[in-house]
């Protein structure tokens, strides 16, 4: 009987119900879109924190001081202080040596092409045999550290640069990778021989053969990536590297590592020992700093540093918008409910005259609101999923996957708002007396 009455009230008053659903759906769609963006980044961040591998960036102390003004780096020491290549094997001598899967040193400079264009020239190791004490077959290089680097063609040989003696390019010159974007721009293809002039240090000219085209999705795509020894020779910075990317197997972040990160003073010696002897990325970074003189190591939280920082800043704004949207829709529901009750006062009077208690009439009207909330919430989710694509394209330049967790959250929120909106006007129900309304005195 109760369900029949509920269904009837929707059929009879459908115009007003459609309006109420629309109000709820509007605010729910806005909230869905904002939450979806936030959750998208939040999930990626938490996946990053929970993963079992991480990259650690090792750079000389002082090199990582940001002195950027208007996008230009004014740090006078930038690129002028180095780590020593001979210290690199120490990375495999720390306590967690076996958890270091690989590392790749980098030496970055700029070079001038024959056409007079300045291009970034990076020196690194690709897949170099580097025997260390604990592992005779250890291979260092970007192929282990950055497995997502895709090369069209073949990988250059790390030892090419060392044997390159003649300057005239008569012998087979060292190989290198050209970033895909750069190669397209310059019209280079695999097998091309190029001559570039290094603009740092001793400013020598080097001859190189393009062995492959590099696709990474990062800034490497517009750079030349050569063997480390070639760049060291070209600049005269022999035996030096600027930074090292270390790839390590780690334990996901937990309470202790967060405490060590944010509140290092509060951990006691017992906790310090446990932290040091657990393969947290922060503990490994700390041990790398101990192992390599004058180095500072920090984990690379890629999402947390990029999109995460953006979302973190606008999260408060999102919360405020959410609350405002729901308050507005709650007020709309409230006024709709008040008119409905006054309009249907004779019906309420009749129900009461037939023996319905106040509670039962409340239940009918609040159930109506709940149904409106559910339908509005679902409609809002659907609309919000579309809206978040538009926002995603605007903010991050990519579409955003829809997160199913939003459906229950939004439906729950919408029902709560609809109920909250109808609570105040439904107090009118108690004030209606059957005799009065049925005689038409109110």
């Amino acid at each position: 009987m109760f369900l029949r009455m509920l269904a009837q009230s929707f059929v009879r008053g459908r115009r007003r119900k459609v309006l109420a659903v629309a109000i709820i759906a509007l605010s729910a769609s806005l909230v869905t879109a904002l939450m979806n963006l936030s959750i998208n980044v939040g999930d990626k961040m938490s996946k990053e924190m929970k993963s079992y591998g991480a990259n650690i960036h090792v750079a000389p102390k002082g090199d990582d001081i940001a002195l950027e003004i208007g996008g230009i780096d004014y740090n006078p020491l930038k690129g002028r202080i180095f780590l020593r290549e001979e210290d690199l094997p120490r990375i495999k001598e720390i306590f967690w040596q076996h958890n270091i899967v690989g590392f790749a040193p980098f030496l970055k400079t700029t070079a001038l092409t024959e056409t007079g264009k300045r291009v970034p020239l990076w020196g690194t190791m690709f897949d170099k045999l580097l025997p260390v004490e604990s592992d005779e077959d250890f291979r260092a290089g970007v192929r282990v550290v950055n497995p997502f680097w895709q090369v069209q063609g073949e990988w250059p040989n790390d030892d090419d640069g060392a044997s390159q003696k003649c300057r005239g390019g008569a012998a087979d010159p060292a190989g290198l990778l050209a970033g895909e974007t750069l190669a397209r721009e310059m019209g280079w293809k695999c097998g091309d021989r190029i001559r570039v002039k290094v603009l740092d240090g001793e400013q020598r000219e080097v001859f190189l053969t393009i062995r492959g085209l590099l696709r990474t999705g990062g800034p490497e795509e517009s750079a030349l990536v050569a063997p480390l020894s070639v760049v060291q020779k070209g600049t005269g910075w022999e035996g030096k590297v600027q930074s090292v990317s270390v790839s390590a197997l780690t334990v996901p972040e937990d309470k202790l590592s967060r405490k060590a990160r944010y509140d290092a003073d509060s951990i006691d010696s017992l906790e310090y020992d446990r932290w040091y002897c657990t393969a947290y990325v922060s503990a490994i970074a700390h041990q790398l700093e101990e192992a390599i003189p004058n180095a500072s190591a920090r984990p690379l939280w890629q999402v947390a540093a990029g999109e995460g920082a953006v979302i973190g800043k606008i999260q408060l704004l999102m919360i405020v918008v959410t609350i405002a949207a729901f308050i507005a829709s709650g007020l709309g529901i409230s006024s709709l409910m008040a008119t409905t009750i006054l309009e249907r006062s004779r019906e309420i009077g009749l129900m009461k005259a037939l023996g319905a208690s106040d509670g039962e009439v409340y239940l009918l009207f609040l159930s109506e609101s709940a149904v409106v909330g559910i339908v509005g919430g679902l409609a809002g989710c659907a609309a919000g999923a579309g809206l978040s694509q538009v926002l995603g394209l605007g903010v991050f330049g990519s579409t955003v996957a829809f997160h199913p967790i939003l459906v229950p959250v939004n439906v729950l929120l919408s029902v709560l708002v609809a109920l909250a909106g109808s609570l105040a006007p439904s107090r009118l129900i108690a004030k209606l007396f059957p005799a009065e309304v049925l005689y038409g005195r109110r």
Binding site: M35, D43, Y52, F95, D135, P252, E253, H403
Partner: protein, 424 residues
Amino acid sequence: MILFLTHCVRAFLPSAVLTGLLFALRRPANGKGAVRPVAGALAFGLGGGVLLFFVSRHQETVTATRAFLDAAGILSVLLMAGAVVSLEWMRSRAGLFFAAALGAVASFSFLTVCAEQALSAVSVLNTDLLMNIGGVLAGFSLTVFLVPLTNRLASRCGRGTLSCFFLAACALLVIPWSAEVLLGLMRLEKVALTSARLTFVAKAIHYSFLFPYIHLALLAALALLFFTGRTAFSARALSETAKPARRKMVGRMRLEARWFKCALASIGFILAVFLHHDLYASRPPRISKPVPLTPDTGGRIRVRIDDVADGNLHRFATVTEDGHVVRFFLINRASASAGGRKKIGVVYDACMLCGDMGYRQDKNDVVCIACNVRIFVPSIGKLGGCNPIPLPHEIDGESIVIRSEELNKGAQYFSQVVDVKGKK
């Protein structure tokens, strides 16, 4: 999500049951109006507990505050019990104090448990955070529903039975609370640490997971009493009554049946959640069963390389002369890209740092169970970090030979001992 649901139900279940019983105890004496002050006191207690938790965490006095709260709780329980026994309680304010103390202790202990597991790994809104909040909300609304449920179930009982139930539930609370107080006082060095005190505290904390089950059993007993004492009208009695009265009778029976079904469903659900947590979710991962091996007459164990070269972890166990069960495992540590080369790592199933919990294989990774570190598979067979302890061995053509003298040396790393007398 389920973890937070469990913690929430576990923390608030006793308070919910006791509050329901308190309502039932007070009702006949004071009529309908008795609900509001108690509910107010309970809400005040819950809020106060939350506030106290954050203040004490900021002041770094969580232990002291907890001991103090538990002591206040014990005091309130004793007062309340005295009031119930002496039947003087209806006029006293012990009920209000009791409800406030219950709420404060429950919310404080819930937050202490929650603080150990972060709601979310990162500060940006994410699925885990929403799921965990959902778990807390679901658990809290379930326990809130238990209050009217208990009240309704208890309404069938006589005063004496009700008091018994109430006192039993109170006694169940006093045991863990007094253990907490004692532990707090010992940690703050206010009382001396004696072995008897420590034994009591350790036992109480070790078996503390049982108390929510007993509360649940009390609730089930109440439901059973409610069911046996339900209103039942015979078919004849129904047919003899006039229509309006009959409808009321049928309505009453239906209502009682609904409450009973609700009680069954809630108890079943909470029991399932508890069992899931205690029997499954909170258990550490287990190692796969080792294959038992015995050395041949020459004191050697032979394992064919081809049998263990598939990249999986092959665990074996042998019993040394002094009865230690020594586990070791073999794994092909050459990566798949090595072109079919076979490099077998032969190691004990134990770690220098973490002991003999062992290692397990999770897809391509080998994981130390004790500290959850992923072991870099090519490094298995080398000492250092959390790597398994290498086991010296020889390679004899197609098989790996392990001498039993080496295994006897490795017995020191393992704690499992079996009785070997039967063999002799």
